[in-house]
């Protein structure tokens, strides 16, 4: 880090001490004065959650035909949304894991809610393929378990890899989040005002007493999980991308997909961190802890990944034409000129042109501008997933089977509902646990004051 920049705009108030930090962050949870904005937001997102629950129940009851699915396009919104949600989860893992390993001092302020974001995103991501099953009540047939049918899953199928990728990711994220929360559960227990919350936090803290032994083990476990995070980030979305890449469908069958999907995942994930950070810092007065400099750093990461994504776009097009197969030209003809062309071109505009604004420091340091760019990035990435999933099979080998259909209201209800459910869980999370990691921030303060040498 450039020390001059550090001086110009600090990553936290210089006079912030340990007690004040704990008072402020724990206060967000323990206060009786819930911000009005939180209440309104919560009401709205609970409504969307209800929309989600209602629509998936109805889909379970009547059948997946409610979605805009048909025979050439047997996958659309739910699969696109699944990939998108997993991508969002990845940024959380990358921030809490990889940035921990590389000791980035802008990490502590955003790691906690990013990790929570990852956790909730993976829940909604994982739900999609199940909602999308023809017979969801038999989803457990994807698991290898001893059964009377004497059958194991088909290990050649990427959907099985998928199932394992998502479940292991969910497990991993849960462990990592919980481990990271342990010291903070201790703080919350000690500062809780009510007996019930004291008992709750006490149980969750698993007897955390801040002893040196605890810290030593905590750090070791944390580092191990952080070390796992990097391969997890790469492999989960990589595996999901194989659902598509392993098929012989022109438009799916590209070897660049794993790398391409991971970059896209991280791009949209970091964008989501900004989308979450901006309202939260406003809602709880955390402008001095999550500063424009944090946003700036995130923007730089976003720019890096989006350039990889853009490069992949070009690569893919080149591969398609280099293949010499008419079916692959057909894919691009379809994407460029046919029914779904507006989606394609909008995606390209959103993912290629708009992100170039992040080359400019003024844009990166403008919270408002970055909030808009982050929203656009999320939208752009969702649309990219959508056109990849849909515009490949809607016109593949057999022209007679070609079909273009619009999504139905149920598609949108489930998508918006899942976003609502995600936001509701995030809002709930920050009223129960500190949205910024106390122990990480404390370390940062201590390290800054030079009182203690870093020991990690």
């Amino acid at each position: 880090m450039n020390p001059a920049a550090d001086k110009k705009s600090p990553l936290m108030p210089p006079d912030l001490d340990l007690t004040a930090l704990s008072d402020r962050l724990v206060g967000i949870v323990t206060t009786n004065k819930t911000p009005r904005s939180w209440m309104y937001a919560m009401a709205f997102f609970i409504f969307l959650t209800m929309v989600y629950l209602f629509s998936i129940s109805w889909v379970f009851k009547t059948g997946v035909g409610l979605f805009g699915l048909n025979i050439p396009v047997a996958w659309e919104f739910p699969i696109a949304s699944c990939i998108w949600w997993i991508g969002i989860a990845h940024a959380g893992t990358l921030i809490s894991g990889v940035l921990l390993l590389t000791r980035q001092n802008w990490r502590p302020a955003i790691a906690r809610f990013a990790e929570a974001m990852a956790m909730f995103a993976i829940i909604f991501a994982g739900a999609y393929p199940l909602i999308h099953l023809g017979r969801p009540w038999f989803f457990y047939w994807l698991m290898p378990y001893p059964n009377t049918q004497g059958l194991w899953p088909n290990w050649k199928s990427p959907l099985i890899w998928d199932f394992f990728a998502i479940t292991s990711y969910l497990l991993y994220t849960t462990c990592f989040l919980y481990l990271d929360l342990l010291p903070d559960f201790g703080t919350m227990r000690d500062r809780a005002k009510h007996r019930i919350s004291r008992i709750f936090y006490g149980i969750m803290a698993l007897g955390w007493r801040n002893s040196a032994k605890h810290w030593a083990r905590f750090d070791r476990a944390n580092m191990i999980l952080a070390a796992i995070s990097a391969p997890i980030v790469v492999s989960v979305t990589g595996t999901i991308s194989l659902d598509l890449a392993v098929t012989i469908v022109p438009g799916y069958h590209f070897t660049i997909f794993p790398a391409y999907f991971v970059a896209g995942a991280l791009y949209s994930g970091f964008a989501t961190v900004i989308v979450i950070a901006v309202p939260f810092r406003k809602m709880f007065g955390l402008e001095d802890l999550i500063t424009p400099r944090h946003i700036d750093y995130i923007a730089k990461v976003m720019l890096g990944f989006v350039l990889v994504v853009d490069y992949s776009y070009m690569c893919e097009i080149w591969t398609a034409f280099y293949s010499g197969a008419p079916y692959y030209y057909g894919v691009y003809h379809n994407r460029w000129f046919e029914y779904y062309a507006p989606v394609y071109w909008t995606t390209y505009f959103l993912n290629i042109v708009v992100p170039q604004a992040m080359w400019f420091k003024g844009v990166r340091r403008s919270v408002a501008a970055m909030f808009v760019i982050a929203l656009i990035a999320d939208l752009g990435m969702w649309m990219e997933r959508y056109f990849i999933v849909v515009t490949s099979t809607n016109r593949d080998y057999m022209p007679s089977a070609w079909l273009a259909k619009l999504p139905t209201g149920w598609d949108f209800a489930v998508l918006l509902g899942s976003i609502g459910g995600f936001c509701m869980l995030m809002l709930l999370f920050i009223r129960v646990l500190p949205l910024i990691s106390l122990h990480d921030m404390r370390k940062l303060i201590i390290r800054k004051k030079g009182n203690v040498e870093t020991t990690e």
Partner: protein
């Protein structure tokens, strides 16, 4: 249930029955259905149900809707084999099932030869029956009008049999009555009528070729000398008869022999699609186009002068689109070139075309034939007779016989005139639906309402039933005895497979009751008739019983085809021809055509037929206004835009459809839609064009105006993209090209299948050796696109219909689809059909992606384990042929479009919602053969397994068999140089392959045609 009139008083629960009857009697609604529904909700009904149908009651406790219930009941009742009387204990001696009917093995189907009619003409079928329940019909190989093939109408007869919307009970003024009350009242009336000699009594029938029914009508006429007989058929053949009279001075029946023809010219004739005998004609035509291994490369040539695109035109080597109304002129010009009469007016391009055709015809003297269409006026028929005589066709490619239908019946116009003169006070309508389908200018409904007594016999409580006093439900052809003539006069017998399900009665019974004769059963009448007349056909000295048994068994009377005769062509024919039609056109031409799927409207309530894509447009559940691209452009009409057709002051609104190959200025509409009382499915589907029809212009006329409305509608088509994008999916060439390049199917198309061992993976064929390797081949030269295979597949494999909304959503379920591609220009395109079943790839892309191993390779086939499927649909995503179908909702029961449970094939599971299904090569038939072969410790002989599509195909375009059996037919076919695999370059190694399509264009026309 309780409306049965045979219930005895001493059965348990009879009190409840009586209560329900009382309740029913109280609810004299317009429709019986509603009455039952109301009753069904009462506790009494519940109790009754539990007592009578314990199995049903379990289902009843679950919430099910009315239709499901009625269907289940219908099915259960069918088992009872006593019709609805099954609700109560049968009267008389009952035979316990320990004494099994002869030949019956529970669970094994029995097969009966019978015949089904369309427009009075019989096609022989074999009906499959499971424990007394007909489930499937296929062609009767011995029947000359079938030759083992079947058409979609006959195939759907099973669905119609179980249709719960069929008339269920005799009604008087739409209120349920009883058969006995009908007999009583008719007896009384007949006695009165006797005194007046039948004055004022008239019978209106459809086309009848049945010898026994005609004899019955003669009997009635004998008993009541003043009684009159009228005949009306909306898809009639008046032009054919009048044409014969014009040419020969007498009516004749024309039989074509396309197997003997090298050059065929169709004057608007759809002889492959709809003409009587079309199945046999299709076979003969295809035999002339099929390339046989080891035989010289040879093919017939078909020219079609088409008023509207048909599958006959699609199979043609050259098509000349001419409005039906102008074909008269073209026919005159054609005749004039052969020295008959004066030329009509033709354009330069047409003249050039005709020159080449005439040249070709002359070159093939004795092996050429001209076929006039049923829709054409008498002059065209007369000219065709003359041309055929001039070409030396008579006795070879064309033969004549006595007419199939006798004279002596008046027309519908005669009937309405008689009503106008107050000469009719009692009208018996035997079948048909004249209130709906009579020409609008006759105002049949208005006239019918003025007849004092209106008696109607039909399958459905339809428009005519609603206006009739007595309506007697008709027994289905699968429920009754009967006879009819095939296109060549072969006497075809109909035997019942099941007792009438819905209190139906045969035409014989109704005719006898109405005329006050003994109410003999149809069995007695038909058998009685043949007892008198059988000697002509019996081998010498044969007893009647032996003759009857033999004939019923075979479904026809042997050697009963009418003998050929040679009518004398009038020498002064040219001078007798009427003036050419439509010298000056006013407005546009309006053309009517029977519908590909629902014919004249009689099949409107069939989900199978409504959902069967129309052969050329691929539209389901709708009819359209067909316009040529140029006409649409000129009028600024958009595809699927609603247009108002104005004709003689009447207006009808329907969606426009821009039809490649449609002649300019000619607008074609299809009959049979816009029904007001067809049943749950057919009512309100499409738009009714009968209001535009006039008795003097049954098939076409000018003076049509079209008006844009600017509103567009959704039409549920199953194919949206019409061109092949240069991909070598369907490969065609000319015969000459084939002669020069025997391996053209592999030349110039993208990609080749990888060579063996080119891949790092083991070759699929080298997996453990299989006992059988089933494979299929479809010959694109002979496929005519009739879609009989599609509906046969649906019937055999319990494929559900889904309805218009679902087809619009892309959820149609047909395992076998027929892709239709166009090439060339819009005005005169070449049309190709390609049936696409599952390719049964050896390297199946669908298999490795399935996470739960529901899509697996089993015994060399690409099997789908329905019970294991959880519905990820990855298999369909990865299927390059897109032949997999998904149960998006619960289609199999509870929807109006669901196939009646009783019509399902018990050998095939009915799929649940949420699972993928696909073509299995009719694995149930393979397994049945395998079990039979295993029992005798032999291999399955070649040809023993026939898939449903293969069996149905009129042209035998589909071959199927085992590749491991040396010299099997499939091996021979696959050895053909024309054999190719679709998308072979992606290394799927499909088992289904195609024979490249060949056409035989006339070199003199080949180039000019393209530019025309």
């Amino acid at each position: 249930m309780s409306v049965t009139d045979k219930s005895s008083g001493n059965i348990p629960g009879s009190i409840n029955l009586a209560t329900i009857r009382k309740k029913l009697a109280g609810t004299r609604g317009r429709e019986y259905w509603k009455g039952l529904e109301q009753v069904a909700e009462t506790p009494e009904f519940d109790e009754f149900l539990h007592a009578e149908f314990p199995r049903l009651a379990a289902m009843w406790d679950r919430k099910i809707d009315r239709r499901t219930l009625l269907k289940l009941m219908g099915g259960s009742v069918a088992f009872a084999a006593a019709g609805l009387a099954g609700c109560s204990r049968p009267i008389g001696v009952i035979v316990p099932y320990v004494n099994m009917p002869e030949g019956e093995i529970p669970g094994k189907p029995m097969y009966f030869a019978t015949s089904l009619t369309l427009g009075g003409h019989a096609r022989g079928v074999i009906a499959e029956s499971y424990t007394g329940r007909p489930t499937f019909v296929e062609g009767n190989q011995e029947h000359p009008a079938s030759l083992g093939a079947i058409d979609s109408y006959a195939q759907a007869s099973v669905e119609q049999l179980y249709d719960p919307d069929r008339a269920q009970v005799a009604t008087y003024r739409t209120i349920p009555g009883t058969w006995s009350a009908f007999i009583e009242q008719m007896g009384f009336q007949a006695a009165k009528m006797k005194a007046s000699g039948g004055d004022g009594f008239a019978i209106l029938t459809q086309s009848i070729t049945s010898p026994s029914l005609l004899a019955e009508i003669r009997q009635v006429q004998k008993r009541f000398p003043k009684a009159r007989w009228y005949r009306y058929q909306p898809v009639g053949r008046e032009g054919v008869d009048a044409g014969a009279k014009l040419a020969f001075g007498e009516r004749v029946n024309t039989v074509y022999h396309f197997d003997k023809a090298d050059v065929i010219v169709s004057l608007d004739a759809d002889f492959l699609g709809l003409m009587p005998g079309h199945l046999a004609y299709a076979r003969q035509f295809a035999d002339g186009r099929r390339q046989k291994p080891g035989k010289p490369i040879k093919m017939n040539r078909l020219y079609v002068i088409a008023g509207t695109p048909t599958i006959t035109g699609a199979s043609a080597d050259h098509v000349l689109p001419v409005p039906s109304a102008k074909i008269d002129a073209v026919a005159r010009s054609l005749a004039a070139r052969l020295g008959i009469g004066a030329a009509g007016g033709t354009t330069e391009a047409q003249a050039h075309w005709l020159d080449a055709v005439v040249e070709d015809l002359k070159k093939h003297y004795g092996r050429a034939v001209v076929v006039p269409g049923d829709v054409q006026p008498p002059a065209v028929h007369a000219l065709a007779h003359a041309i055929n005589a001039r070409l030396g066709a008579v006795g070879g490619t064309v033969t004549y016989t006595e007419p199939l239908e006798p004279d002596g019946a008046g027309s519908l116009k005669d009937l309405t005139d008689a009503i106008d003169h107050n000469e009719i006070n009692r009208l018996l309508v035997l079948g048909g639906n004249p209130v709906y389908d009579a020409p609008a200018d006759l105002d049949f409904a208005g006239h019918y309402a003025r007849v004092e007594e209106r008696i109607y016999w039909s399958h459905y409580p339809n428009e005519t039933a609603y206006m009739s006093y007595w309506h007697v439900p008709a027994a289905h052809e699968l429920e009754s005895w009967g006879d009819a003539l095939a296109y060549d006069g072969t006497v075809s017998l109909t035997q019942p497979l099941i007792a009438p399900l819905y209190h139906g009665h045969s035409a014989y019974e109704v005719l006898r009751v109405v005329s006050g004769a003994n109410a003999d059963t149809d069995y007695d009448v038909v058998r009685g008739y043949w007892r008198q007349h059988y000697r002509r056909y019996a081998s010498n000295g044969e007893a009647f019983d032996a003759f009857w048994k033999r004939s019923v068994q075979r479904g026809l009377i042997d050697n009963s085809a009418l003998p050929a005769k040679t009518p004398h062509l009038r020498d002064d024919l040219a001078s007798r021809l009427p003036q050419p039609l439509f010298r000056q056109r006013r407005g546009l031409y309006l053309q009517f055509r029977p519908d590909d799927s629902i014919f004249d409207g009689r099949f409107a309530n069939s989900a199978w037929l409504q959902e069967l894509p129309r052969r050329l447009t691929k539209i389901t559940w709708d009819n359209v206004v067909m316009l040529s691209p140029r006409t649409a452009e000129r009028l600024g009409i958009d595809n699927k835009e609603l247009v108002v057709l104005g004709y003689h002051g009447r207006e009808v609104t329907g969606p426009a459809w821009i039809m490649p190959g449609q002649p300019d200025n000619a607008v074609t509409v299809q009959l049979g839609y816009g029904r007001k009382r067809a049943g749950r499915l057919g009512t309100g589907v499409g738009f009714d064009v009968y209001p535009l029809r006039r008795a003097d212009a049954m098939w076409f006329d000018d003076g049509l105006t079209l008006m844009k409305t600017g509103k567009r509608v959704f039409l549920a088509t199953t194919q949206y993209h019409q061109t092949m994008e240069g991909r070598g999916l369907l490969r065609t060439a000319t015969l000459d090209h084939f002669r020069d390049h025997p391996h053209w199917v592999d030349e110039g198309y993208p990609g080749k299948p990888p060579k063996l061992h080119e891949s790092l993976y083991p070759e699929p064929a080298e997996k453990p050796p299989l006992e059988y390797r089933w494979a299929m081949n479809i010959d694109l030269s002979t496929c005519i696109g009739c879609e009989a295979c599609v509906i046969a597949c649906q019937a055999e494999n319990n494929i559900q219909s889904v309805g218009k909304e679902e087809v619009l959503a892309g959820h149609e379920m047909h395992w076998l689809r027929i892709d239709r591609y166009y090439s060339g220009n819009m005005e005169d395109p070449e049309t190709y059909f390609q049936p696409v079943p599952c390719m049964q790839c050896e390297n199946a892309p669908c298999e490795y992606v399935c996470p739960v191993e529901a899509s697996v390779h089993a015994e060399g086939l690409n099997a789908q384990v329905y019970n294991r499927c959880i519905g990820t649909r990855d298999c369909s995503q990865n299927c390059p042929y897109k032949v997999r179908r998904f149960n998006w909702f619960r289609y199999q029961t509870g929807r109006p479009t669901s196939t009646p449970v009783a019509a399902e094939n018990p050998d095939v599971s009915v799929r649940q919602r949420g699972i993928m299904e696909k073509c299995t090569y009719c694995i149930q038939r393979i397994n049945e053969a395998k079990i039979a072969a295993d029992k005798t410790d032999r291999r399955i002989p070649d040809g023993m397994v026939e898939t449903a599509c293969q069996r149905a195909c009129p042209t035998q375009a589909i071959s199927f068999g085992d590749l491991n059996t040396s010299h099997s037919k499939i091996n021979q076919v696959k050895d053909s140089p024309l054999d190719y695999e679709m998308l072979a370059e992606i290394n799927t190694r499909p088992r289904t392959s195609y024979l490249g399509g060949l056409t035989n264009p006339n070199p003199a026309l080949a180039k000019k045609d393209k530019n025309a």
